[in-house]
């Protein structure tokens, strides 16, 4: 079924490099409601390239909500108006004919803009390197059920592990805090027996790196959970706080 095209006005943040000032550039476009948000940007870029103009720089990889690279702030909301999806899963049918859509990059001191809509999210990788792993000698694959884990615990760990590291929590938080991301990573290990031996070193190391990169401090507004494409719960933040206090008490 062929749908009527939507006439939209896009205001896209264009910025040549990290140090140059940016501004919004207006692009009128008519798109099919079946187009995905990123496909719409592709269409604009095709047009721009045809005219010999520089295309809009934005990131994407999997385009199915698992790699976490595609985050954009759409009308003030990371990943757009629909909850629990990534930008790549957003479709234009969620917008109305005549809408004006502001497209901005994630904004945080810890996420400097590289170009246009692309930001440097590598501080999240540095946080992972500080403790987002378990130290075991590799060998043959261990037997799946060698360590029994209660279903509830396994599910909770899985929920935390569903974080795709997109950084929308940082983008959504008025304090640009990375607590939801870091707490998801701390939790996925702290819940499971394999992660327990290093739990206290882990939380201290990850929080330390998080603070060094200049992410803000959490003030419990829970914007992160509301905007997280995977619905990672702020209960993980509570768990990380507990882990952190215990690490301090136990030394």
């Amino acid at each position: 079924m062929e749908h009527k095209k939507l006439n939209l006005t896009l205001k896209v943040w264009r910025q040549h490099g990290p140090k140059t000032p940016g501004c919004f550039v207006t692009y009128p476009i008519a798109v099919s409601p079946d187009t995905s948000f990123l496909e719409m940007l592709d269409e604009i870029n095709n047009e721009l390239e045809k005219k010999g103009k520089e295309p809009i720089a934005f990131e994407s990889d999997c385009r199915e909500g698992i790699c976490g690279t595609c985050g954009l702030v759409i009308n003030g909301q990371p990943h757009g108006p629909i909850p629990r999806i990534a930008t790549c899963q957003l479709h234009m049918r969620n917008f109305k004919d005549g809408d004006t859509i502001y497209i901005e990059p994630f904004r945080a001191k810890a996420f400097p803009i590289i170009k246009d809509l692309i930001v440097d999210r590598s501080p999240m990788d540095r946080i992972m390197e500080a403790g987002g792993f378990i130290s075991v000698n590799t060998g043959s694959v261990p037997d799946g059920n060698a360590i029994p884990i209660a279903k509830e615990i396994a599910s909770e760990a899985m929920d935390a592990a569903s974080c795709i590291g997109c950084g929308a929590c940082v983008a959504a938080c008025k304090n640009a805090s990375a607590m939801l991301f870091v707490s998801a990573k701390v939790s996925q290990f702290a819940l499971l027996p394999q992660g327990k031996p290093e739990r206290y070193q882990r939380v201290e190391a990850m929080v330390k790196v998080m603070d060094e990169y200049g992410f803000g401090s959490c003030s419990n507004t829970y914007a992160c959970e509301a905007e997280c494409p995977k619905g990672v719960s702020v209960k993980n933040i509570a768990r990380m706080n507990r882990e952190y206090f215990m690490s301090k008490i136990k030394g």
Binding site: R107, A172, M179, V207, S219, N220, Y244
Partner: protein, 218 residues
């Protein structure tokens, strides 16, 4: 003890300072309100209550110092967090989506706190300082009820109390979250308790200026 200081200066440590001082202040408010309600009993009841406190003056002085420290830590830490958090996002968004992903209570905690702080100064100056240090011969009941005959004073007080209610509604559940006491089972209950607490405080403190302004506390 260097590690304590260092830990309290981490992002999680700063939350903890906010929560611990906040809980202390919330407990203080309960006692403060309980005492204030004796205003409804008229001059005798209220001054009687004040007399009780006067009898344990040295202890009250110690509590006042502790309370002042708690207030100062809560305020300085809050201001510091606000400044640091502004620095963490040097450039804001053109479209502000915060209405869609946060509630008004947590979003405005700094603003409501700031206004309550201004009120606190006025409150201390006009009542606490006047009674204790201005060399007045008047009793506390007379001082207090006198102020509330001015409509602007009563109104200011009322506005500050409503905003305090907003602040508390955020603070109560927020403290539990910070302590790490958040579980699926009882957190909804904590949020409800927090709202009930905030409403009781707002109605309790807020009814006093209305009562005193309209009925003069006779």
């Amino acid at each position: 003890m260097g590690w304590v200081w260092k830990s309290l200066n981490s992002s999680i440590g700063k939350k903890l300072v906010m929560a611990v001082t906040g809980v202390a202040l919330m407990l203080f408010l309960i006692i403060h309100l309980a005492g204030n309600l004796s205003l409804y009993g008229g001059s005798k009841a209220f001054n009687g209550y004040v007399g009780l406190l006067e009898m344990i003056k040295p202890l009250i002085r110690v509590i006042e110092v502790i309370l002042a420290l708690v207030f100062i830590f809560h305020i300085i830490n809050g201001v510091r967090l606000w400044i640091e958090n502004k620095i963490a996002r040097p450039q804001g968004y053109t479209i502000n989506g915060s209405r869609k992903n946060t509630d008004v209570f947590s979003r405005t905690a700094f603003i409501t706190g700031s206004i309550v702080f201004i009120f606190l100064i006025l409150h201390l100056q006009t009542i606490w300082y006047k009674f204790n240090y201005s060399g007045t011969e008047l009793d506390l009941y007379t001082i207090t009820t006198e102020w509330f005959t001015h409509w602007w004073y009563s109104l200011l007080y009322l506005i500050a109390i409503v905003l305090l209610g907003f602040h508390l509604n955020h603070g109560f559940q927020s403290a539990f979250q910070t302590f790490g006491w958040n579980s699926k089972k009882y957190f909804p209950l904590i949020e409800k308790l927090g709202t009930i607490y905030a409403i009781i405080m707002t109605l309790g403190f807020g009814s006093i200026p209305i009562y005193l302004y309209f009925f003069g506390g006779k």
